[in-house]
Amino acid sequence: MITSLSWLKNHLSTKANLNQISERLTEIGLEVENIKSSNENLDNFIVCKIVKAQKHPNADKLKICDVDTGSENLVKVVCGAQNARDGLFTVYAPPGAVIPKNNMKLKTAKIRGIESHGMLCSGHELEQSSDKEGIIELVKKEKNIGDKYFKNSGEKTLDIAITPNRPDCLGARGIARDLAASGLGQLKKQPSIKISQKFKSPIKVSIKKEKNQGCAIFGSVYIKNVQNKESPDWLKKRIVSLGLKPISAIVDATNYVMFDLNRPLHAYDADKINEEIIVRNSKKGESFEALDNKKYLLQNNMCTITDKTGVLGLGGIIGGTRSGTEFSTKNILLESAYFYPSRIRKTSKILNIDTDAKYRFERGIDPNSIKLGLELGMCIILDICGGEASKFSIVGKIKDERKTIELDPKKFYQTIGLSITSAEIKKILLSLGCVIKMSGNKIKVLPPTWRPDIKQDIDLIEELIRIKGYDKVPLINPEKENIKDTLNHKQKLFHFAQRSVASKGYIESVTWSFTDSKIDNHFSELKNEIRLSNPISSDLNVLRTSLYSNLIISAKKNIHRNFEDLMLFEIGPVFNGKEPGAQSTMIGAVKTGKHSRKNWIEKERNFDVFDIKNDAIRTLNEIGISSSNISVSNKSKKWYHPGRSGLLSLGSPSGPELAYFGEIHPSVVKKMDLRIENVLGFEIFLDNIPETRKKIREKKPQFVISDYQKVVRDFAFVIDEKYSSGEIINLVKKVDDKLIKHVKIFDVYQGDNITQGKKSIAFNVTLEPKDKTLSEKDIDQVSKKIISKVQEITGATLRS
C-alpha cells in the first residue's frame, strides 16, 4: 500500500513529520518498507527553452535544436516535432532519464550523423496527455528555465506492507485511523456531501438470486452529461504517486477513492450498457474482453456484471472494454458494490487475474462503505467533469455477522503479562471504531464493520497491545529446566552419524529433496515416480527416492570443473510414497577419483571398493554396531557394479539391511556423463539401526586382562574359488570362538601353479588364552582342528 504524508493529512490532523509517522506505523504493525520520492526519475525532466531550431542537414523532418536547460552551455538536441521552434519553452529530458510512456532510458546517440544529448518531450511521452503531436508548449519565463517540470514529484511516498488481516489499511483513511488511535494526531471527520440528486437512475440493476451468488450489494449512481477529460494536477499527482498512470478524470477518480477509503469503484459508459445491469453467475463458455486487453473465457459460477448483451465485467475483479469509459463518454454509471471474498478469490485464482480491486475485495471491504464511496466518487467527477447525478440505487443487502465480544481485562494480563486499565481499553478500542458497553468487570465490544479480522477476545487483546506498544511487554527470563531429553535415540543417531561420516574425510552437502526423474530412476526401485504437480523446473520434477541422484549430479558438476577426487555425503530424507511419513532417513556418500595422485611418497591409486567398505563399516561401528554383528554379503542393487558391491546387514545376510556399498554401475556412470571411471558409494539406512535397550556402557562385560601370551599361526589352503573370504573366516572362528581372537587374511592368489577354478588363500589366526599359557601341544591341537574343519567343509587342501 502506497500513501504519502499529505494524503494522510487529508484524514489526520497531526503535527508529526514523515519520519515520526513512519516509525509509528512500523511500531503498530503497519510496516513501512520503503520511503521514496514518488518518482525520482521525474526530477530529471526540466523546463527548457529552444534558443535556436535548425533543419537537420540529413533529414527533412528532423530539427537540430540548441536548448537552454539552465546550465552553462546550450545543449544540442535532435527533435522531430513540427512545433519545435525558436523561443519555445518546453520540457527537456537529459540522457539517463526514463521516458514514462515506454520506460526507455535515454542515451546520447547519433541521429542521422548528428549527436543528440537528450530529448524534448511530448505530453504523450510524459503520460500527461494523449497529445502525440509535437512537444509540450509551456507558458514560462526565462527565470523558469532549469526548474523541475514535475512540481510535486518531491513528495515522498510511504510503501507500507499491509498484512492480509488488515484490509481497512489498504486505504489512507484506515492508516490515519490507526495513527490517531496510537496518539499521533486526530482523525478528521468525513465532510458531509450536499449534492442535489433529483432523478432516478435510468439503468435498472438486479442481483440474480442464485446459489453461489458472489455479490451481496450493488450500489450505483448515474451521472449524465459529463465531460471526461484529463485529471487536474492534484489528482494526477496522487495517481502518479501510487505508481499508476493517469488515464482520465473518471478512471482516476475511481482509483483515488479506492486508495483513499479502501473502496473500489467501477465506472461504466452508461450508453454502452444494453438496457440494464444484471449481476449473475457466469455460464461455462461465456467470455469477455477485460480492461487489461485480454480475453477471458469463463467457467460456471463466476460473479459477472452483465447486461442484455452479455458479460460486461467480472464483479470486483476487472471491468470490460465494451463498457469502458473514454474521453468521449457522456453518461456514466458509477458502481460501488460488495462482493464476497471467497468468491472473488476463487474466480481470480482460476483466471489468474490480480488487480487492486480484487486484492481488496478478497481481503474484505467494509460493506458499509458503499454509499460513502459513491458520494466521494460522484463529488470528484462532478467537480471535474460537470454533469448531473441521479439518486443512489442500492440493491441487495448483507447480513451483519459481527458479534459482540466479551473482553475480560484479566485475560489481557494473562496473555501479555502486563496489566491494563478498563479506561485504557476503552480509549484504544473507541479510537479504532469499536462500540463499547461496560458490563460489570467485563467489557462488551462490537467491532467496526471495516475490521473483519476482529472476531474474538484474543483479537481485541492484540489490538490493545499493538496500539499500546510491543515494547511494553515485559521480558521474562527463561527457566533452565528440561521436561525431557533434548534428543531421542534416532536424533542422537542422526547427529552422531553425520559427524562420523564427515570425520572420515567426507564433505557434507545439502541438496534439494527433489530431483530429476531421469536421474532418480537409475537409483529407484519404486514402481511410480513421486511427481510434483507444479515443479519449479522439469529437472526438479520428482521427490528423490535415493540420495545418490543429487549427490552424483553434484559430483558431476564438480568433476566437470576438474575437481575429480571427491568425497561427498548427505544425510537426510528420501521418499517412498506421496503420503505424509512415506520417507526414511539415510546417509548417502560418494567417493570418486583417486586416493592419491602423482606423489613422491605414495603410489598413485584409485579409490576402490575396499575404501568405501571400510568407511561404511567404520561408520556403523561408531554409531554402535560392532563388526562382529555386521554380516557382509554380495547382495546388491541394480545401480551397483554386480561384482563389486555388497550388503552390510545386522547379524546375518538376511538380517535388517544396514548399508549397501560398492562401485556405481558403469552404465549409470556412463549415462550420467561423469567423465570418470571409478565412482563408489555407500548408503546407510539409519532407520534400520536398532535402538538397544541397554546403553553401550551397560552392555560391556567386565574388563579382564590376560597375563598369558598370545600366539599367532599362519595357514594356507588351496580352495574352490566359490568360497568367499568371509565364509572361511567365519568357519575358522567357529572352531573355538573363545580362544580365537582374530582371523586375518594376508594373501589371496589365483594364477600360475594354482588349478583353474581354485584359489590360494593364506591367513593367520591369533589365539588369546584366558586361563593358561598355551603349550605346543595345545597349539597343535587347535591347528589340527582348524585344518580339518576347513578341509571337511570346503574340500580345501593345505598348502605347504
Binding site: I458, E462, R466, S503, S513, P535, L543, M567, Q583, W600
Partner: protein
C-alpha cells in the same frame, strides 16, 4: 699367588686395543670364557689357604667388576658410533609433504541446527520432527489458515496431487499440531527441518530450512516469549548485548503476532549484529491462536503459550557472513570447504558455540 695388579694392567692393555665388535667378542672370551683369564683366576680360589682366600676373592671381584665396566663402556661406545653413523646417513628433507589424508566438513546448515539445538536445550526445549510431505490440513487448515484465505498466498506451495491435498510443507509449523495431537501438555519443543516454497530467485530457494518453537503450559504469556527469544538471539550471535525489536505483524496461527528485528550495522563492508541503527527481520512469532490449540485438542481455557519460526539458512548467512542463499544447495566443493565446519566442532554450551 699371582700379581693381580699386573694381570689387571695386562687385561686393560688388551681391551684398549679393541676396535670392533669382533675383537670385543674375542677379548671377552679370553677374559671371561671357560678358560678365560679371570675365570681361571677364580678357579684358583679353592687352592688357596683359608687366611688368603678372603682378600684374594675380594680383589678378584674388584678386578672383575672393573673389567666388566670397561667392557660395557666399550660396547656402548660401539652402539653410539654405529647410531651416529646411521643418523648421518638418515637425513631427509623434512619439508616434503606427507601421505594423503582427507578432511571432512559439516555443512553450515547442519552446524547452525546444532548450535540452535544446543541453545534451546539449555532452556528446556526438546527436539521434535515432522514429515516433509504434509497434507493440506496440517499445513494450513489446522493452523487457522482456511482455504480461500489470502494468507495462503504468502506460501507458494508445491503440490503432489491435483486435488491439492498433498503438498510439501511450506513451514515447520505443522509439527506444532502433530506434537500436540500425539501427546499431552505441557509442550516445550523445537522442530528444525526442511521447508519448501515454489519460489526461486536470488534471495529465495525452493527449499530452505526453518526452526519451529512451541511452548505451551498453563501460564505462558508474551513476556516469556520475549524472554526466550531475547535469550536465543543473544546466545546465537554470541554478543553481550543485542538490540531487539518486537513489531506487530500477522500470522493466522498466532495472536498477537510479532516479527522480530535485530539491530545491525555495516562495518568494513561486513554486517555486524547487535547494535547500529538498521533493522533486520529474523523471525516471526506470537501467542498460539486459541483456534490452533482447539484443532490440536488442547483446551485453550487451560493452556496457552507461544510459538516462533526462524529461518535457519538466514541465521547461518548472518552469523557466518554468507551472501548467497542459493549457493547453500549447489554442492560446489570449493564453497563447502570454505564455509563448512570441522566435524570435531560440535557446538556445546561449555566449550562455546563456535570457534
Amino acid at each position: 699367588m699371582e700379581n693381580l695388579e699386573r694381570i689387571q694392567s695386562d687385561i686393560l692393555d688388551k681391551i684398549k686395543n679393541v676396535s670392533d665388535r669382533n675383537s670385543y667378542e674375542k677379548i671377552k672370551t679370553e677374559i671371561f670364557g671357560k678358560k678365560g683369564i679371570i675365570t681361571e683366576l677364580f678357579k684358583k680360589i679353592g687352592t688357596l689357604e683359608q687366611n688368603e682366600r678372603k682378600e684374594y676373592a675380594s680383589k678378584l671381584n674388584f678386578l672383575k667388576t672393573k673389567v666388566n665396566e670397561i667392557l660395557e663402556k666399550k660396547i656402548e661406545s660401539f652402539d653410539q658410533s654405529e647410531i651416529n653413523k646411521k643418523l648421518k646417513n638418515e637425513k631427509i628433507d623434512i619439508t616434503l609433504p606427507g601421505r594423503s589424508y582427507f578432511s571432512g566438513k559439516i555443512h553450515p546448515v547442519s552446524q547452525v541446527i546444532d548450535e540452535v539445538t544446543s541453545i534451546f536445550s539449555e532452556i528446556g526445549f526438546s527436539v521434535e520432527e515432522g514429515p516433509d510431505i504434509e497434507n493440506e490440513y496440517y499445513n494450513f487448515s489446522a493452523l487457522n489458515t482456511p482455504e480461500n484465505h489470502p494468507a495462503r498466498d504468502m506460501h507458494d506451495t508445491f503440490y503432489l496431487d491435483h486435488s491439492k491435498d498433498l503438498l510439501l510443507r511450506t513451514h515447520t509449523s505443522p509439527v506444532q499440531i502433530r506434537t500436540m495431537i500425539k501427546s499431552k501438555p505441557p509442550f516445550k519443543i523445537i522442530a528444525p527441518g526442511r521447508t519448501y516454497r515454489h519460489d526461486s530467485d536470488q534471495t529465495h530457494s525452493p527449499m530452505f530450512h526453518q526452526l519451529e518453537g512451541l511452548h505451551i503450559d498453563k501460564n505462558i504469556n508474551m513476556g516469556h516469549l520475549k524472554g526466550c527469544l531475547y535469550y536465543f538471539v543473544k546466545k546465537f550471535f554470541e554478543v553481550e548485548k543485542v538490540k531487539i525489536r518486537f513489531r506487530p505483524s500477522h500470522f493466522p496461527f498466532t495472536e498477537p503476532s510479532a516479527e522480530v528485528d535485530i539491530g545491525y550495522k555495516i562495518e568494513d563492508g561486513k554486517i555486524k549484529i547487535g547494535d547500529g541503527d538498521k533493522w533486520l527481520e529474523i523471525l516471526g512469532c506470537g501467542m498460539v491462536h486459541p483456534n490452533v490449540l482447539k484443532n490440536a485438542k488442547v483446551n485453550p481455557q487451560k493452556y496457552q503459550g507461544y510459538a516462533f519460526g526462524v529461518g535457519i539458512d538466514r541465521l547461518a548467512m548472518l552469523k557466518y557472513g554468507i551472501n548467497d542463499l542459493r549457493a547453500f544447495f549447489e554442492s560446489d566443493i570449493r564453497w563447502l570447504e570454505f564455509y563448512g565446519f570441522d566435524p570435531l566442532d560440535v557446538p556445546t554450551n561449555y566449550r562455546g558455540l563456535s570457534r
